[in-house]
Symmetry: C2
Subunit: 339 residues, 2 copies
């Protein structure tokens, strides 16, 4: 297993490449934040109020940052990437709002979720508004290629969410299904966010594909790490609750692996907890103990590292630069993060 | 008050102009239906299953029909309107799916609603999918003007829904607020559907605006009639339940008018039923009796007829034709229908 931060392949990795990217692209990011605040406005007051609750809570802005970084990687000098980065964040925010309704979540980004605070109804509708707003922004930009990429990504995300829903509580779910789910619900938007930056910079199809490929692998690594963190105590720092996936009966990689190695008694445990959703408070600790016993968290992180390697390899098609270095580091950081 | 069907301004009005339009545009409509069935497909089986439940239930296809009629009105000979009519229906279907989740409805088009049958979660997500698919279709069409119209309409619809939600249970809601809500949540998509047909036929801005104006007024008349029908027994024929708006505490025109004329005791009744949502079975009949007493259903239909007149006037900018006649009749039919 790769050790967090202490044993990284690249010895020059800074502690936090996300911070480095944020610093490097600070003026772009400020422009994007200003656009986000401006374009989430509506005369219907509840809309900016609800959207603002989630957007102002911050989040890492990792997806819009990818669009900015990708455009900057190719020395693009215009400002189109600002509007498109805002689109990407709006699409992401819309999916978060709908996700929290679907999962009946009470927490998001360390505070009450929008649906918990305002009710499910406006959370659904404000999600729709942000989604529509994203398409208005893209239309203003006027690139049909960007519209193709992001409308396609949006459809794939919805497919991924439905696919995940269908597998919830199904302890027969296999790894191929899991990969299909996370590729669609998570990695697709990372891929699109990166690709759009290259498209804006009018790069060759091969370079656009390289960025897309990088984003896809980053997204896969990011989601696997996320699914591991749901069973790892450190997460509680960022206000996400530990064990959410377990409580919802989500079939994530660690659990799928653990079920694959389960004794008949263990299998019965998983079926009861995740299949039949009969859980007591002690069950989550038992689940963590089983993941530990079968070393599946380590295995899952190894899997994430394989995606990281592919993502880093994809960037070889792009000229070397400090920015490229940060993107390489980012994919490792996405795995070794503790939030 | 205008009498249904017996006392119409235009003596040549056929019994059902919707039927006449459907006949006239039958081959277009078949092409649109084929596109709808084809493009709602997904490898994620639950998506066509759930979407198909609602789409196959039929509905009147009135919005896509408007796009087809508008293109035909200008003798447009291409096929672009088919894809765009499918977009319009996808956007409408997505809003229905989300509406039913928001309203917690159990019935739609005479059968169980998708959320009642499949659960709220997939209904939200399949709505997102159809919405994304609509933007994919528009992108394939490639007209930024169409994208502008329909992404704008989508944002406005979401605003209207939120606005309606904010007024629910608020018995101080006034008519101006009501008009703002129905213009946004209903009439905007009628307007956009009509406008898109004219845009596809590459007509002048004035002609595009005339069609948009017609659609807007049709939508206003249609929604007011819908809100009247919720208190009129005939509706039960089409499987919509009577009194849904009352049960949900929705502030529609008849109720707003009745509250405006209410005695103190009646006002107390409305406050209890719609404001505080304390309703017994007998209350709906009492509500109907009050609407009858104050003649507000008739007044509301008169209001709808004023929109009809404006819609018909808007069509004066367009050359006379049998098709134009059907569109004129349609707006009267939308008011005098019994479903």
């Amino acid at each position: 297993m790769h050790m967090p931060l202490t044993n990284q392949p690249n010895p020059t990795t800074p502690i936090n490449p996300l911070g480095a990217l944020t610093d490097l692209l600070q003026s772009d990011l400020l422009a994007v934040n200003a656009l986000i605040m401006q374009r989430m406005q509506s005369e219907v007051e509840l809309i900016p109020e609800l959207a603002g609750h989630l957007i102002a809570a911050g989040g890492k802005r990792i997806r819009p940052l990818l669009t900015l970084a990708s455009a900057a990687l190719f020395d693009y000098k215009g400002t189109r990437q600002h509007k498109l980065a805002a689109c990407v964040e709006f699409i992401h925010t819309a999916t978060l709002l709908h996700d929290d309704v679907v999962d009946d979540s009470n927490q998001r980004r360390g505070r009450s979720s929008a649906n918990a605070l305002f009710g499910n109804e406006p959370a659904v509708l404000v999600g729709d508004f942000l989604f529509s707003r994203a398409f208005q922004l893209m239309t203003e930009d006027g690139s049909l290629e960007v519209l193709r990429i992001l409308s396609g990504a949006s459809a794939v995300i919805a497919e991924g969410e439905v696919l995940q829903l269908a597998a919830t509580n199904d302890i027969e779910t296999d790894e191929a299904h899991y990969r299909r789910v996370i590729a669609a619900k998570t990695a697709e938007l990372f891929a699109a966010a990166c690709e759009v930056g290259a498209v804006v910079a009018e790069r060759s199809p091969a370079e656009c594909a390289a960025l897309r490929n990088y984003g896809m692998n980053l997204g896969m690594a990011f989601q696997i790490a996320d699914d591991v963190l749901d069973y790892a105590a450190k997460r509680e720092r960022l206000g996400k609750s530990l064990g959410d996936d377990f409580k919802e009966g989500k079939m994530t990689l660690p659990v799928i692996r653990a079920i694959g190695k389960a004794s008949p008694a263990e299998r019965k445990f998983w079926r009861r907890c995740l299949g039949e959703m009969e859980q007591s408070d002690a069950d989550f600790h038992e689940a963590c103990a089983l993941l530990e016993k079968h070393k599946v968290l380590e295995e899952s992180l190894d899997e994430a590292h394989r995606y990281a390697e592919q993502g880093i390899a994809a960037l070889c098609a792009i000229e070397e630069s400090p920015l490229r270095g940060h993107l390489e580091d980012l994919i490792l950081f996405a795995i070794d993060r503790d939030y």
